[in-house]
Symmetry: C2
Subunit: 201 residues, 2 copies
Amino acid sequence: MTDPVLDFWFDFASTYSYLAAARVRPLAAAASVRVRFRPFLLRPIFQAQGWDTSPFNLYEAKGRYMWRDMERLAAGLNLPFRRPDPFPQNSVLPARVALVGLAQGWGEDFSVAVYTAQFVEDGRIDKPHTLAEILSFMNVDAPAALEAAQSDEIKLRLRSEVEAAQMLGVFGAPSFTTADGELFWGNDRLEQALAWAKRIG
Amino acid sequence: MTDPVLDFWFDFASTYSYLAAARVRPLAAAASVRVRFRPFLLRPIFQAQGWDTSPFNLYEAKGRYMWRDMERLAAGLNLPFRRPDPFPQNSVLPARVALVGLAQGWGEDFSVAVYTAQFVEDGRIDKPHTLAEILSFMNVDAPAALEAAQSDEIKLRLRSEVEAAQMLGVFGAPSFTTADGELFWGNDRLEQALAWAKRIG
């Protein structure tokens, strides 16, 4: 018997995805659920709703709340957190690199490191040098990975992942989807999503 | 020493407020926190953001998700739930009646009963007869309560409650606020809000 699967959809610019990325692997291991990291882009989904930036920028009270909520939640999880500038950052390049890495076995560690670069070290995740530093630290060939990330294959792959997310009803990040088509939205729903995956697994 | 206080802000049209209204009293009692029921209106807050209806109607994927999420959460809490029609319903009248009742000692039970009427019995909470039925069942003088609800005093009171909510940064429902000005948004944050109130109490 194989472990049940839970898909973890995340955008590298998403604040709450940082919390989920930090939590998902230990929680999934404890629940004997296999998590698949699926980086995607919120931007085209937001644009289809008529939003040209994050809703946290568009709606001031909501944005103010989110930063405070993140502070409190990160503190409760003993995770460092600082507000990045600018926000949101363009997440296309790290998403493409992550897709390269997920096929080569280093994508999950890379993803967690990108969140740390952005939400702890105030790094620019849209800049190749930030990603190259992460890759080198992980002993991955950075120039090769960055070049592969710009291949047509990977560009197309990311585009089809965004479409797959939309087909599943994803409208925010992080989201979790199960083999039977259930969608769970938000870091808050991680435990519930794992329990669901386990039950149907 | 008096118990610490947590303000519970809710809109009678809000789906997640139904879950919070069902949960807040037993959880607060267990935490020795005194909860103040504060009915308000989301509509003027949404209108200030340019929305003419619920975001769950404006954003289709988000709306579809919310109804499924509510089904799952209600099932997990052993609470009956059915999707009301129409949605959202105008919540001005029940909010005014609740303000009358909160000054007379029956406002909390009335509030919980309004949610049941709407989300279990498919009742129209914008209709006086629905509210009159609830009041009569509670042995409250329904005509007197409904008349008091239309007094200038109560109308003004509800308007100033909406302003108070906005001043506290409230942008959705349910929300919880503590004496030191912390805001917690969503049924998901009830436990965290109670813990915060207790800690500062």
